[in-house]
């Protein structure tokens, strides 16, 4: 599986439709403090099935929906789509014939999340397994959030064991 594109709309500070193309090699992301860089990382983690609002830095999962600014009203809907290239044929049985996969997660304020793969509604579990089978997912040790390196140093030895479990 290759990660090809991330599309966000109404997710945190990305109220307008935004597309981040992900190509091979190293892609840098820069910008001033508070402009939304870490929000992009959270969008990626969220579409892969993140269940903890705390890891999204909010109180409840609705906090990922655009909350408004002094000049724009809040939204009630957020949607993130991750486009994958499946030419290496590593998707689960029902979807493995497709060359391209589009994983979509959509949340409505007060009504919870809905997942779709190529337009078909699926369970959160299906999306989580798809990524777990491909050494990725919301808990992937390869997604190093801001401050996580420091947290690893401060962690008790038992708390670091999870890293080994993910690597197994």
């Amino acid at each position: 599986l290759d990660f090809v594109k991330l599309r966000l709309v109404g997710f945190k500070s990305f109220v307008e439709n935004t597309e981040l193309v992900i190509e091979p090699g190293m892609t840098g992301v820069v910008g001033p403090n508070g402009c939304g860089k870490s929000n992009l990382v959270e969008a990626l983690r969220w579409v892969m099935g993140e269940t903890s609002a705390k890891r999204m830095r909010g109180d409840g999962m609705d906090d990922v929906i655009f909350g408004g600014t002094s000049r724009r009203p809040a939204r009630n809907l957020a949607e993130v789509t991750l486009s994958l290239d499946n030419s290496s044929r590593t998707a689960p049985a029902g979807f493995n014939d497709n060359n391209d996969l589009e994983i979509t997660r959509r949340i409505e304020r007060g009504a919870g999340s809905e997942y779709r793969i190529n337009g078909k509604t699926v369970r959160a579990r299906d999306v989580q397994l798809l990524f777990a089978d491909n050494a990725s997912g919301a808990n992937s040790p390869a997604l190093v959030s801001q401050g996580q390196v420091g947290a690893l140093i401060r962690a008790k030895p038992q708390d670091r064991r999870q890293l080994l479990e993910e690597a197994a």
Binding site: G25, G28, V29, V30, G31, L40, Q148, V149, A168
Partner: protein, 162 residues
């Protein structure tokens, strides 16, 4: 499950030791599974000694040395079970310029030798200059993020509004 954990520990430990030496240009380090009888309950202890220094507990290392040691561990785990995407959010913040260079060398090596795609968020000019392409996030309208693709000359301009 026990065998799997022990096997993964061995592989991660081997990668970690090699990466530590690469990151620090010398020295030595190793991991230990500590405490419990049952490895499934055990903890992971990190021992590290930068070049020319004595082996010591992690807390006596400096802020930058701790970050480099933790990155060696994270990349060790990554090499044990390579993911299709790796995202690094300002992990270079505590590093001095020489260590930022070594960090970039390592990421570039890993990006060149695998199918993995790397997203690197940074404020360091040196790191920006080492990427294949650069995206800028701006908030020209307060509170509303916008993504723009930047060529590296444009990066100067972006930093100016920085």
């Amino acid at each position: 499950a026990r065998e799997r954990l022990l096997a993964s520990f061995q592989t991660v430990n081997t990668h970690f030791q090699q990466l530590f030496v690469k990151m620090f240009g010398g020295g030595r380090a190793h991991l230990e599974l500590t405490e419990a009888e049952d490895p499934l309950e055990a903890g992971l202890e990190i021992f590290a000694s930068p070049p020319g220094k004595r082996l010591q507990i992690l807390t006596l290392l400096s802020g930058g040395e701790q970050a480099l040691t933790a990155l060696s561990l994270l990349f060790g785990v990554f090499l044990t079970n390579p993911a299709p995407i790796c995202v690094l959010d300002e992990v270079d913040a505590p590093l001095d310029e020489a260590n930022v260079g070594r960090f970039c060398d390592l990421v570039q090596d890993m990006a060149a030798s695998r199918r993995t795609r790397f997203l690197v968020i940074t404020h360091h000019r040196l790191t920006m200059a080492r990427t294949d392409r650069l995206f800028g996030v701006t908030m020209s309208e307060q509170g509303v993020s916008q993504l723009v693709s930047v060529d590296l000359r444009g990066a100067e301009a972006l930093r100016a509004i920085g």
